[in-house]
Structure formats: structure tokens, C-alpha cells
């Protein structure tokens, strides 16, 4: 059966067909859809699917399931693996029972991320196998294979996707979800599951001994393939999605050049295939996105099998180490190796486009409570205060002057503490979203209380994980599969962590929000302000409608409301106008000094 599937849907499909029992994840672009697709199917297939509070929790939940013998997957974006790195590294020592696949989606070019780290390095670091799918079909097939390989080796397997695989769509051949599973049973075995030093040392040796088994399993796997055996001295080795770009380029150049092509889908790469390939060519172009993982491997193999070979790729400057590859870069790299003329890549945009087009950056939605929260924060603290911020939709407000830092999930509070402890004396107001606060902000707040940081922490609570597609979290009272659950109280949490000043305010009430921030600023100690207003997209989906606002004849053209930045407010030269995007939050009406904005009657 063939279906037209998103890469992440193909991965979800693979998880179902492999008969996994537990799937845990924290949302993050480009990985979120795997769980979004599985969650509604959970009951039908007797699957536990959860949004965990963070990636470390997600991986540990998956580990628990695996240790009972049940297959499990943990799904996350690349930087999520940093959060899960602690269990990840030692898991390689303890190993697994039920197949455990860690599914990580990298984001070359940082489309929706703060960095473009290459997760294949993590697999190398942990000494576990890594699979690098090129397209949705391979993503599905490799997912199923990964569970089998994991059980065969008793090791976790890393399935490394990228944005262009996770968010690619293609026709994919799928099979049936697996119906039968073993019975879960946790077998007590302290020497395996208790990583005391005395147990860890021998387990490290076991891991190292398994390296040969990993190599021979991958050597036989179908993911590494000699695609073309040319007669010339030229060869191309490529992995993941780069192998598709390479294959296309070789096809386009086939009339002019005879090139051998080896396609790699596993790490470590297959030594036998690689060494044989290297022996037959005198020049090889290694093509992969981000880090030179494959290139370094080819260099190592070449030292033994063909020291005279010329290895081209990142070191030679043909293939960049940053950003994503595209058909042009790859075509020209191969053409250059074959001494064929390069084609001038058409300019990245037309002259006119650069000259006359207004930029269209993503922006907070009309009526978004975050915009109002930041407006009030700026009014209360002034622009000279320091505003450490965090990761979420609210980071889109970077032009409002209330976002001075953004590093990684949960870092706003702790960076704020450090700025305070450095001796910096200005006011500090950190902002962090509800989901991010629950992800890694909790220990940060506890740390701030414990170490007596005089800062203000604003929890921007829109009751969802908005940026990644509106997933629920422990503050929302529903689970991934839609079941009702306990809804955690941010006020109670903040108090339990030791904050004495805790107030909640609705950002649609501008005056009250400014006043609350002022009290928080003047409080002699750590203060927490919970700025609570549901995301407008969720409100709309829930059928909540408000009357829109309009500008009346009192408008003097002072532009105060325009400066506020709501996309529903336009300025036509003399006066403001409110367009059809207005969601009726009423904040601009409170900002207008001339009583010129009123609700449509």
C-alpha cells in the first residue's frame, strides 16, 4: 500500500509497524509531528504516547519501557538531545531489552532552531549505531529496522532525521501495524540496570566489545549501497539526503562524466564497502550536510587502503560545513571534481526583490497576550532594565526591546541570576513561557530562590506549547492522547519553589499588568508574575469570539498604537486603521491616548 506521507508521519508509521509500546517526546520543530500523528491512534493500537515535560524525561520513560522488554521510542529535535544527553550516554552502557530508538531531527540552516548541531556526532560519542535516512520511505523503513537492530545488539539506536526529511512528503510504501507484543516484565538485574561504578566499568567494556558487532550488522544492512560502478577514476560517497542530491547531479552529468557512486545510510559507515570503493578510484568527493563525519571516516579508511587517493569535500572547500546543501552546491562540487564547467547558480533572489520587497518576518498574532505582556513589562521596567528571555513564540517579540538574551530552553532565569551575581545593578526581568518553564525553568527558579537572586520572573502563560503547534503540557489538564489529567498551578509551583511574591495578571488589562510589574520590580527579593492569557489561536479553535475594534474620528495620527506592533493595525499616512485580522483583545484601545479606538458596535 502506498501513501503520500510527511517524513515524520512515515517515522510514526514505522513505529506502529514495529509494534512499539511506549512513545515519549517533547515537542520541537522539526520533530513534533511524530507524536502528533501517533497520539490519536494510541488507544486503537494500545500504545502509550506522551508529551513528556522535557526530552530527558521522554528518554527515561522510553528506557523504562525497554527494560521491561517492550519496544519504545523517544522523539525530539536535535537540541533536545542535549537535554537528554545524560541518560543517553549511560544508556549505551546499560543497554536495552525491548528495542529502543532515539529519533532525533536535526535542523541544518537553523530554520526553527538556535543552532545546527549534527546529531551523528552524538551517536559517535555514545558508541551506538546511527541511521541517516534520505527520504520519507527510508525514514519508515529504517525506523522498523532500528528496532530490530536495537534488540539484536541490545543497544539504543539513533535515527537521525533532518528538516528536509522530516518535513518532506513523498509516496511511501507502508505495511500493517504490528498487532502482537511480548508481555512486559521487568527482570531485576542490578549489574545491568544499576549503574554503580563497579557495574559501569564492566559495562563500558561490554559496549566497546559490541563495536565489532555493530560494524558487521551495519555492513550487511541494505542502507549502504554501491549505486553506480563507473569505469573512471572518479567517485562520490554521500550520506542521508545529500545522496539524493548527488544521485540527481550524477544523472544530469552522465553524458559527460563516468562517476562511481556509493550511498551511505549508516554510521559507522561500512568499512568493507568503503575500502573497496576507495581502492577503485583516485579521486573521491564526500558529500554530507553539517559535520564531516563521513569525510573523516573516509580519510581514515583511505590511510590503510589507498593513501594516494585525493579526498574532496569539506576540507577542500567544495562542501560547506554549515547550512543545508542544495542541488547546485552538490552538482558543482561533482562537476569540479570531473573538471567539467561549473554552472553559475542563479542569484539567490532577483535584484528587484532585494530592492523593493518589504521583509516578512514571522510575527506574534493579532491579539497575542505576549505582545501586551511585553508592552506592560517595558512600561514598568523601562528600556534600560535587562530582559533575559527564552524559547517560544514570545521570542518573536525581539523588536519590542524586552528580549535581551535567548540561549536554550529554560536559560532565562539562570542567566538572569548570573547577570545579577556579576554585580550588575539594573533591574532584571526574565520572561519564560509556560511550557518552557515546566521543561527546564523549574530548577532555574529554585536555583534563583535558593541563591537569593533579586530578579523578576515573568511566566508568560498562554496555556499551550504554541510555537511547535499547540501541544498540551502539564499546566493544561490534558494529555497527548486527549485524556483529562491534573492541571498544575503555576502560582502553587512558584510558591512551593520558595517565591514569596507571586501574582497573576491578565495582559489584556494593560493598567493592571503595568502595576503588577511595578510592584514586582520594587519587591525586595525574587518576584514572580504569571501573565495569563490563552493563545488566540487556541481561543479561536475553541470558538471564543470577541467583537473587533475600530479607529474613530478622534485619531490624531500619533502612531502610539502602531508602535505597539499588532499586525491588525495599519497606518495610512494620517491615521490608524484596524483591519480584518483584529481579534478584539482591546489592548490598543487602552494604549491610545486620544480615546480613538473603540469596540465595533
Amino acid at each position: 500500500m502506498r501513501e503520500y506521507l510527511l517524513g515524520n508521519a512515515a517515522i510514526a508509521r514505522g513505529i506502529l509497524e514495529a509494534g512499539a509500546r511506549v512513545v515519549a517526546s517533547y515537542p520541537g520543530t522539526p520533530a513534533s509531528e511524530v507524536v502528533e500523528i501517533l497520539a490519536p491512534l494510541a488507544k486503537k493500537y494500545d500504545l502509550h504516547v506522551e508529551w513528556s515535560v522535557n526530552e530527558k524525561a521522554a528518554l527515561e520513560v522510553a528506557i523504562g519501557s525497554s527494560w521491561t522488554g517492550m519496544r519504545a521510542a523517544a522523539v525530539m529535535k536535535h537540541v533536545g538531545l542535549n537535554v537528554a544527553a545524560d541518560p543517553f550516554m549511560t544508556l549505551a552502557y546499560t543497554g536495552v531489552r525491548g528495542g529502543l530508538v532515539v529519533i532525533v531531527s536535526d535542523d541544518p540552516f537553523c530554520y526553527s532552531s538556535q543552532n545546527e548541531q549534527d546529531s551523528r556526532r552524538y551517536a559517535q560519542f555514545a558508541c551506538i549505531p546511527c541511521l541517516d535516512p534520505a527520504d520519507p520511505q527510508e525514514a519508515r523503513d529504517m525506523t522498523i529496522y532500528a528496532f530490530e537492530l536495537s534488540e539484536e545488539l541490545e543497544l539504543p539506536v539513533l535515527l537521525r532525521s533532518t528538516t528536509r526529511v522530516s518535513h518532506a512528503r513523498a509516496d511511501v510504501e507502508v505495511g500493517q501495524p504490528k498487532e502482537t507484543r511480548a508481555t512486559p516484565q521487568f527482570l531485576k538485574n542490578p549489574a545491568r540496570w544499576v549503574a554503580l561504578p563497579a557495574h559501569a566499568r564492566p559495562r563500558h567494556s561490554v559496549l566497546l566489545e559490541k563495536q565489532d558487532a555493530i560494524k558487521s550488522a551495519l555492513e550487511k544492512s541494505p542502507w549502504n549501497q554501491l549505486v553506480l560502478q563507473g569505469r573512471s577514476e572518479l567517485g562520490v560517497i554521500a550520506s542521508g539526503i545529500s545522496s539524493l542530491y548527488a544521485e540527481e547531479a550524477i544523472k544530469q552529468l552522465e553524458a559527460e562524466a563516468d562517476i562511481s557512486f556509493l550511498r551511505i545510510g549508516t554510521f559507522p559507515p561500512p568499512e568493507g564497502l568503503c575500502s573497496e570503493f576507495i581502492r577503485h578510484v583516485s579521486k573521491v568527493m564526500v558529500i554530507e550536510e553539517l559535520e564531516p563525519v563521513l569525510e573523516e571516516y573516509v580519510e581514515r579508511v583511505a590511510r590503510v587502503h589507498n593513501p594516494d587517493i585525493e579526498i574532496l569535500g569539506k576540507r577542500s572547500g567544495h562542501i560547506p560545513r554549515e547550512g543545508e546543501l542544495d542541488p547546485y552546491i552538490v552538482r558543482n562540487a561533482i562537476a569540479d571534481m570531473a573538471s567539467l564547467p561549473l554552472v553559475e547558480p542563479p542569484s539567490q533572489s532577483l535584484r528587484e526583490a532585494a530592492a523593493i520587497l518589504p521583509p516578512r518576518p514571522p510575527a506574534l498574532c493579532p491579539g497575542c497576550g505576549h505582545r501586551a505582556a511585553y508592552y506592560a513589562m517595558r512600561e514598568a521596567f523601562g528600556t534600560d532594565a535587562i530582559f533575559p528571555s527564552d524559547i517560544g513564540c514570545y521570542t518573536l517579540a525581539v523588536d519590542m526591546g524586552t528580549i535581551d538574551t535567548c540561549l536554550c530552553m529554560g536559560s532565562s532565569i539562570t542567566i538572569g541570576c548570573g547577570i545579577r551575581f556579576s554585580g550588575e545593578e539594573r533591574d532584571i526581568c526574565c520572561s519564560i513561557g509556560d511550557s518552557t518553564f515546566l521543561h527546564t525553568g523549574l530548577p532555574g527558579l529554585l536555583n534563583a530562590v535558593y541563591n537569593k537572586a533579586k530578579i523578576t520572573v515573568a511566566i508568560l502563560d498562554n496555556s499551550t506549547t504554541a510555537m511547535t503547534g499547540h501541544q498540551p503540557h502539564p499546566g493544561t489538564g490534558v494529555t497527548a492522547s486527549g485524556d483529562k489529567t491534573k492541571s498544575v498551578s503555576f502560582e502553587a509551583l512558584a510558591r512551593a519553589l520558595g517565591a514569596d511574591f507571586v501574582e497573576t495578571v491578565d495582559p489584556y488589562n494593560v493598567k493592571a499588568t503595568i502595576e503588577t510589574f511595578k510592584r514586582a520590580r520594587d519587591y525586595q527579593g525574587l518576584s514572580v508574575v504569571i501573565v495569563k492569557r490563552a493563545c488566540v489561536i487556541n481561543e479561536r479553535r475553541a470558538g471564543i469570539m470577541r467583537k473587533p475594534f475600530m479607529v474613530n474620528e478622534n485619531c490624531t495620527g500619533c502612531r502610539e498604537c502602531v508602535e505597539f506592533g499588532c499586525p491588525a493595525i495599519e497606518f495610512d499616512g494620517d491615521s490608524a486603521r484596524i483591519n480584518s485580522l483584529c481579534t478584539g483583545c482591546g489592548v490598543c484601545a487602552q494604549i491610545c491616548p486620544n480615546d480613538a479606538i473603540e469596540m465595533v458596535k
Binding site: 544521485e247 547546485y328 520587497l357 514571522p362 502602531v562 499586525p567 493595525i569
Partner: protein
């Protein structure tokens, strides 16, 4: 702007039967439009590859989807290689015009969506003629029409993307029945009629 718009075969080795880029503003339905075509290609038994924009850009940002019908390679349409550029918004048509091949065709909805940089007065939105002139220069032909207005006429402004699909239908190597079947499966049943009307209105413009 009358012209013959038959697909011309590319001179070099063909690696894709038809390369399309669909561009617009987050929320306009770029992904739905692309996936209706993709599913239709599947029905026709053609291999299809596509690359979508998800995530951050969807908060009113500029989005591009790549779609390759009859292709077994990577999902990205090479710059200068698109047979068709479908723009749900005029400024976005120009922003991604460099994807068009010189034998390509552009279908452009002329109804602007003002970016926040314009509503806030930081930038100006250029006049339509200035946006369209460079497009006319670089490709084989362009078709322009107010698809948003046609969608309203069909009964729902949200069906603008389906108006564009109707306009596109005669340029792609897929039979109309396949597209309609795929459209039927992709929209809620109660909106099918309005979407069918939108498709028909668009088809007249293509």
C-alpha cells in the same frame, strides 16, 4: 498576457517531470494546496517529492513549498528550475521568482497581504506593477488574477488556495479527476461544494 503555455521539455537530462514551487504567507494554505497535488500524483501512480515549511515561519512569515512530480530524487526544486511558480500573494511571487526557469510560468494571486513591517510603517508595499514587471521579464509568461476575490465569490475567502489549484490544474501532468478526487479527500465534506466552486472559478483563470 496571452501566450501558449505548453510545458516545454528541458534540454538537459530530465530528473523531474514537473517542478513546482508554491509560495505565500503562513496561514494561507500553502501546505494544503501542495498536499492535494501530491496526493493526486500518488493516485496517478507518479513518484512525488515535496519539501514543506513548518514551524516558526507559520506565524505570518513567508513560506515556500517545493513539489516535484515524477521525480525520484531530493525534494528541493533547484533555483532557476521551476516549471511553475504558484504565488498565493504577489510580493511572495517576486521574493521567490528566482526559482522560476526561463521556460516557466507564474500564477499569481494579486491580492496583497501586508507584512507587519508595512503595517507598522517601517517599509512600503510596492505597487503591483513593480512587483510583476520583473516576473514578466524572467519567465515565459505570467497569469495574474485576484484569487481572494474569486474565493469570496465561491463562498469562502479561505478557499483562495483552491482557486489557485484550479488555475494550476491545466499546467500540471495530472488529470483533473485526480485533483478533484484528492481535493474531496482533503477538505471536510461540508466545505466540499464551496471548494469545488473555488476550483472551477480558478480553472477559468489558468
Amino acid at each position: 498576457m496571452k501566450m501558449k503555455m505548453k510545458m516545454k521539455t528541458k534540454t538537459k537530462t530530465k530528473t523531474s517531470e514537473c517542478d513546482i514551487v508554491v509560495v505565500g504567507v503562513g496561514g494561507q494554505g500553502v501546505i494544503l494546496l501542495s498536499s492535494i497535488i501530491g496526493k493526486a500524483a500518488l493516485k496517478a501512480g507518479l513518484p512525488v517529492r515535496s519539501a514543506e515549511t513548518h514551524g516558526m515561519a507559520h506565524r505570518g512569515g513567508s513560506v515556500i513549498n517545493h513539489l516535484r512530480i515524477g521525480c525520484m530524487f531530493g525534494p528541493l526544486v533547484p533555483v532557476g528550475g521551476a516549471d511553475i511558480l504558484v504565488a498565493l500573494e504577489p510580493a511572495e511571487a517576486l521574493r521567490y521568482a528566482h526559482y522560476l526557469s526561463k521556460d516557466g510560468v507564474a500564477l499569481v494571486n494579486t491580492k496583497p497581504v501586508l507584512p507587519s513591517t508595512v503595517t507598522s510603517g517601517q517599509s512600503k508595499y510596492p505597487p503591483l506593477e513593480e512587483i510583476l514587471a520583473p516576473l514578466q521579464r524572467i519567465c515565459r509568461g505570467i497569469k495574474t488574477f485576484d484569487a481572494t476575490k474569486l474565493a469570496v465569490k465561491a463562498g469562502n475567502p479561505q478557499t483562495m488556495n483552491v482557486v489557485m489549484l484550479g488555475a494550476l490544474s491545466k499546467y500540471i501532468p495530472l488529470r483533473e479527476e485526480m485533483l478533484i478526487e484528492s481535493l474531496t479527500e482533503s477538505v471536510p465534506a461540508k466545505f466540499l461544494d464551496v471548494n469545488r466552486r473555488a476550483f472551477e472559478l480558478g480553472k477559468r483563470e489558468g
